[in-house]
């Protein structure tokens, strides 16, 4: 299906009348494929398939979304990120928390939406203040070259001492502006939420019964994804100035910050994790999300936007020299990747019934990086393939014979090494299983303005 759609994009009948046809042909097959998931879901969740196999199929699904979204960052934009589990954690926790507190058994989509909206407003205000401060810092550069650095140090000392003061007494002293500001934001968040909740609940109740639960679930997925995307943006802006190994270490550190922040947050359950979380994710939802994620990331990667993202990967200096805003493209890839990692996290937490911060550690990030690298950098189908192989392989090894079980992780590691030796550029090495149609046209269409822009 994918290959046929991409063929239809060829502008064979000229640029003027192919537009709507292209749009229709590329978007109509998607819901049809999603419909096919229902009989499949019936099989997977049936008794004959068994809960053990069902669980493996589900794990494959989460890993496909994670691998494909990291492929956009590591493979297409060439920014080696080791922090994907961090974005997954953001999505997982910020879907699980409102699912427990505000969703009322997935019956209250609007209250859930309100949670994300309030969160957005509060983050917006906080972000605005920080942005303003940085703008002032940048302005101070015109007075003296090293003034911004000096002011930044002073600001940090002020903030830290402020928090230290507030920590020493029961009541935050009046002069602790930063701590009080933070408290004020938290207060604004909870009062906004509290004042809006009853109205949102009443409005939700007015919605027809059958739509409430799926809508609520969708809100949680997209909300979790957006939160991860916002974190990706905040993390990405400074981190993407770094390159290669340095960026990898920075993203690793930032994802650890996320994990440890969650570990120390009481409302999010601390080190013990959040439990119980209402379960909603099933086969159809998960694989629906898998297909949508693959299609959307495919469309970004093999579009003019993706072409520019790849150009920045190939040569940043040349990309800037032809007028590409290199930072913008790197951040775009990073944010889209983080969004889908957040969606995967939300799907995961609403499937597992309980999550702990320990799950989202370095181990998980590396697992996803291995999938992307083994699949072949710059290949979406490779990432899908590798996610399937690497999730199923340990389980297959477990089942071969009882003797193998003890050595299965050794065999698994050996297989990884052999695969990288045999195919050093990954399973598919930058190729796709179906045509990607980038830079393939029909006959050149002469334009009225003459052959070349002057």
């Amino acid at each position: 299906m994918l290959s046929r759609r991409s063929d239809n994009l060829a502008p064979l009948d000229g640029p003027s009348n192919s537009g709507w046809r292209t749009t229709l042909l590329s978007n109509v097959p998607l819901p049809l494929v999603l419909l096919l998931l229902f009989p499949l879901g019936w099989v997977v969740q049936g008794d004959a398939f068994g809960p053990y196999n069902e669980r493996i199929v589900m794990l494959v699904g989460f890993n496909i979304i994670l691998a494909v979204s990291l492929q956009l960052i590591n493979g297409f934009s060439g920014q080696f990120s080791l922090g994907h589990a961090g974005f997954m954690a953001v999505g997982a926790y910020l879907a699980a928390y409102p699912a427990r507190e505000y969703a009322h058994h997935f019956d209250d989509p609007l209250a859930t939406l309100l949670f994300f909206v309030c969160l957005g407003i509060v983050i917006g205000i906080g972000g605005g203040v920080i942005y303003g401060l940085f703008a002032l810092l940048r302005l101070s550069r015109s007075i003296h070259r090293s003034l911004p650095a000096a002011l930044l140090v002073l600001l940090l000392v002020w903030i830290l001492s402020d928090f230290a003061q507030a920590g020493r007494s029961d009541q935050t002293p009046a002069y602790c502006i930063w701590t009080r500001g933070l408290g004020l934001l938290a207060q604004a968040f909870s009062s906004l939420l509290a004042s809006g909740s009853p109205a949102a609940g009443r409005a939700s109740a007015a919605l027809p019964q059958f739509i409430r639960q799926p809508l609520c679930f969708l809100v949680l997925l997209i909300g979790g994804g957006c939160c991860a995307a916002v974190v990706g943006f905040i993390v990405g802006l400074p981190a993407l100035r770094l390159r290669g190994d340095y960026l990898a270490i920075a993203t690793l550190g930032l994802s650890e910050i996320i994990r440890i922040a969650i570990q120390n947050s009481q409302p999010l359950g601390g080190a013990l994790g959040l439990t119980p979380i209402p379960k909603y994710t099933d086969f159809v939802w998960l694989y629906g999300a898998v297909i949508v994620a693959i299609v959307l990331i495919w469309r970004v990667a093999y579009s003019p936007k993706g072409r520019a993202i790849m150009a920045v990967r190939e040569d940043e200096i040349a990309a800037a020299a032809i007028g590409l805003n290199t930072t913008q493209y790197k951040v775009t890839a990073f944010v889209i990747g983080a969004f889908f990692a957040g969606v995967a996290g939300a799907l995961f937490s609403l499937h597992e019934r309980s999550i702990t911060p320990g799950y989202f550690g370095i181990q998980k990030s590396i697992e996803i990086v291995v999938m992307v690298t083994l699949g072949g950098l710059g290949s979406i189908s490779g990432a899908v393939l590798a996610a399937i192989v690497l999730t199923v392989l340990p389980e297959v090894l477990r089942n071969i014979s009882p003797d193998v079980v003890e050595y299965r992780m050794i065999i698994y590691s050996l297989l990884l090494i052999v695969m990288m030796l045999v195919r050093p550029r990954g399973l598919l090495g930058g190729w796709e299983l179906w045509p990607k149609r980038l830079g393939r046209t029909g006959a050149p269409v002469p334009t009225e303005e003459g052959p070349v822009p002057a």
Partner: protein
């Protein structure tokens, strides 16, 4: 000077750049009109490429100013300077190697990629139209430079001369007013060099560009350029027509060294 004419002048006014204590370029001035072909020559390490990097914003100059059509462009980031109308090629070829020849040009031509995500995600009609028109324009540019047959090859599989031409095609795709070519003939055989000379003249005439050319091949420079600036140790030692430069004692000294007293 009329305002319209002022728009087509690249004026570099006593620009300098130091790296720590090293003076890479000092007091470099040059005026480039649209349709003019100016050469920039000098021995290795004279600061020619640094001049290009200063003009295109790779580094900001430490002194002096650069004006494009009366507007200051020095200190702006490279992408903005390109959008203002200055395109360049690189001494060591910098293509987007794993992209096809066509994509190398299309990515330079296409500014629509920076618009919102929605069109990309939903493949709206506008998205399809823009994509089709971009690709036909990119193909047209490739045709002009004789690369249309190789449009769907991966760009690093082109022969050396082809890669140089593709870099020029990519620079032209950004619709510049001024084109800076950094040693376009390096590594070319004599036949390719003759073709290149014709090509440089052709694009100058076809698009009315101002071309600034760094080149070591004296035959090429002397035959193509209308005016030449000679750099040595970051300083301008001579400016003039090719014939004048050829007999300038300072230039001969810079290239061949002094005769013993």
């Amino acid at each position: 000077m009329t305002p319209a004419a002022a728009d087509d002048v690249l004026r570099i006014e006593s620009v300098g750049r130091t790296f720590g204590g090293l003076v890479a370029v000092s007091n470099f001035s040059l005026t480039l009109q649209a349709g003019q072909l100016v050469g920039l020559i000098g021995p290795n390490g004279a600061g020619k490429t640094t001049c290009f990097n200063l003009i295109t914003g790779v580094y900001p100059p430490t002194s002096g100013r650069i004006l494009l059509g009366g507007q200051r462009i020095d200190g702006r980031p490279p992408a903005q300077i390109n959008r203002a109308g200055i395109a360049r090629t690189f001494q060591n070829i910098r293509l987007f190697q794993s992209l096809t020849v066509l994509d190398n040009v299309a990515v330079a031509y296409d500014r629509s990629a920076e618009r919102g995500l929605l069109g990309t995600l939903l493949r709206t009609p506008r998205f399809a139209r823009l994509r089709a028109s971009t690709e036909s324009r990119a193909t047209a540019i490739l045709t002009t430079l004789g690369l249309a047959d190789q449009a769907h090859l991966v760009s690093n599989s082109l022969p050396y001369g082809g890669q140089r031409r593709l870099e020029i095609a990519r620079a032209l795709a950004t619709s510049p007013k001024f084109l800076l070519l950094d040693e376009p003939a390096a590594g070319m055989n004599p036949n390719e060099k003759v073709e290149l000379m014709d090509l440089i003249r052709f694009i100058r005439d076809r698009f009315g560009l101002g071309v600034l050319l760094i080149e070591h091949d004296m035959k090429l420079v002397m035959s193509v350029c209308e005016q030449i600036t000679v750099l040595d140790h970051g300083e301008t030692i001579a400016v003039g027509k090719p014939q004048e430069i050829q007999c300038d004692p300072k230039v001969i000294e810079a290239y061949l060294g002094t005769t013993d007293n």
